[in-house]
Amino acid sequence: MASFWPVALIVLITFLAALIFFLLFIFEEKKIFVWLTVLVFFAVIGALYYAWDDLNFRSANVVFGKKTDFKGVIVNDPSLKAGSQEIVLKLSQPYSGNILIKLARYPEFHYGDELNLNGIIKKPEPAGYERYLAKEKIRGISSFPKVELIGSNRGSGIKAALFEFKNKIIGSFQKVLPQKESAFLTGLTLGGRSEFSQEFKNAMQLSGTTHLVALSGYNITIIVWAVMGLLAYFLSKRLSFLLTIFIIIGFVLMTGAEASVVRAAVMGILVLLARELGRLYDIKNAVVLAGLIMVLFNPKVLAFDVGFQLSFLALLGIIYLRPAIARFFKMGEEPGFLGWRDNFLTTTSAQLAVAPVLIINFGSFSPTSLLANVLILGAVPVTMGLGFIIAFASFVSYYLSLVFSWLAWILLSFEIFIINLFAKLSLTFSSALSWAAVFLYYIIIIGFTVYVGRNHSKTQTS
């Protein structure tokens, strides 16, 4: 019950705040104080919800630090590394909860396999890793226990089919492209970095391009575009709308539902829904709704999922900061050759919005990443498109997919080259940041955005 006192303190402070706001409303009679009161109450509900969720998570029955026999079913699509594989196992009676298990590379296991194991389950360390795994609802880890397969297909049939489909696509990349290139293409189209070498992961971080392999609005847009375009020929509008939504949800499940793609999917579905119902789509409301849904689903994402924070901050940067920067520097709305101006503005605003989070979590932020991103982003949509074409072509003919892979190979080698080059050129400053500095930084960014916005509306009215 270590988390009791902080929660109690938060509840106490917020109740006091609510009381103050309410009294202010009675004396000052301004509507804003009612809103603030309600807002504070929501914070209390949120804190209680978090505490309840955490209590549930910790009540799982796992035996730590002792050699034990245990049983369970694999609930993830095992992630394959060079010499090992990682599975998430949902423990069966008498135990409960999920644990992460590292196993030899072969025999290969699959989603829905039921296993008998014998080994030691440990608590994850250090604290940061423990919080990350807690966010993933994983209680313990076990390395190379004795393992025996006792059954398969014990999971959801839909998920099993989706994972199989995904692995077919990855296989089609691997058949036509070298290791690095196929791994990168997999990351771009389906997310995931498990196949990347540690060197390449570091290079992506140093060059500020890791976000490329986090699935986002890009991927969802391409899917919507392709699916709607295809289906609209054969089906009624209503039916193709429903199917597209199912396919988006399928894509999210298939790729492991990382924060950035869930956010993009919720917002994408809202766009489609607004069009279907003839309502206006308001991006600000969509952002808030996406965040709310995700936090309701898993309250830990708010604090412990860096991907969640980066995804939302970057998006807010693009929505609010981008137009402010464009106006301030009087840059036109022309995208420029291969969309460089577009990419430059988007990257700059997104990177400025996420910089403190990057520095706090990864100890580095590189200004040269702007150039790296501008150079790469122009080629990324085409590469992703080619990736999907290779996947579909491979279902028709191997040779067809091979021909497309040559074009993809050129782009992928170019992108990998830029990433490695800018990893060397990166000017990292990795000083520790105080919370006060972060706070000040965001105040300045928000201040800038508001200031430019006001000036702009003044010049328009005058």
């Binding site: 060079a82 010499g83 590379r105 025999p107 691997q174 291969l338 074009l407 190979w409 080698s413």
Partner: protein
């Protein structure tokens, strides 16, 4: 009419540029592929791959036919090795031979079958005891690769190049010890002789001496330099000019001082994948050129 086209082109300038560039590049690539197919390199090239503790050799016959013998342990290192040697757009290996079904010889082959198209899979027909063997069988079946079982006296011929299988025979194939069942292959090509020995021990070496009486040029030293292989009498008959030991970090003491001494005793030049990385031998019919750490 022409004005209309120019107008359209102007409107879609970026797309037009991308399309033209893509087509030109694709053109070059296709020509590269075609000219690559016809490239008649008449050298024999033998690569001893750096895959850690395990065996893997790639043979490029004069004319470009690719034969991969073993794939090392299941650590995926073979892929990086192959990509240094084979063009990135070339995804085909003619023959994959598994000397015997032990994990440090076939583990990496699972990755190879996942990522390359393979003409045929050559094996001694024995099943492996390692759990991963089922994964190997599965991937071979999934890709419908033809499997051919070889034994003593079978020969693979391409133009003037011959792989002759000189072990196992009916009896040794039944051995309890998997190392006795190794497909031992003698390659005759470009005026040179190379012996691939897998993990054979002294007992099989003695058997081989019954049919072997002439020296060879290149020896893949048996069983990562174990002292229970490569006995003096065998090495004296073979008298290899170049001896390559495929070895990585291990707890068996491979390669053993005894074997190194015996090889020195017969005057072989010794190369080791743990010290020399990928070792490339280029044989033009007159000389053997050895390149290290390629």
């Amino acid at each position: 009419m022409l004005d209309e086209i120019i107008l359209k082109l102007k409107r879609h300038k970026n797309k037009a540029i991308i399309l033209v560039v893509a087509l030109v590049v694709l053109d070059f690539l296709i020509f590269w592929q075609i000219s690559g197919e016809g490239r008649t390199n008449r050298d024999l090239r033998i690569y001893f791959l750096d895959v850690g503790q395990g065996d893997s050799e790639l043979v490029l016959l004069p004319g470009g036919v690719k034969v991969l013998i073993d794939g090392g342990p299941p650590n995926s290192r073979i892929l990086g090795n192959l990509e240094k040697i084979i063009l990135p757009t070339d995804r085909y290996i003619d023959l994959v031979m598994m000397s015997h079904p032990q994990l440090d010889h076939f583990g990496g082959l699972i990755d190879v079958f996942k990522r390359y198209r393979v003409g045929a899979f050559l094996t001694n027909g024995r099943k492996g005891e390692a759990q991963a063997f089922a994964d190997l069988e599965k991937i071979i079946e999934e890709n419908s690769v033809k499997t051919v079982v070889l034994a003593k006296n079978d020969v693979i011929r391409y133009e003037n190049n011959h792989f002759k299988i000189i072990s196992p025979d009916k009896n040794t194939l039944q051995a309890k010890e998997l190392n006795d069942t190794v497909l031992v292959a003698e390659l005759t090509s470009n005026n040179s002789k190379t012996l691939f020995t897998g993990d054979i021990g002294v007992n099989i070496e003695e058997e081989l001496l019954k049919v072997f009486n002439s020296p060879i040029d290149i020896l893949k030293v048996a069983h990562h330099g174990s002292k229970y292989s490569s006995f003096g009498g065998f090495l004296e008959v073979l008298n290899p000019k170049v001896a390559v030991i495929e070895v990585g970090k291990n707890s068996y003491g491979h390669p053993t001082a005894e074997v190194l001494k015996r090889l020195e005793g017969v005057g072989s030049k010794i190369f080791r994948t743990d010290l020399d990385g990928i070792i490339e031998l280029i044989i033009d019919g007159q000389t053997i050129k050895v390149l290290k750490n390629i």
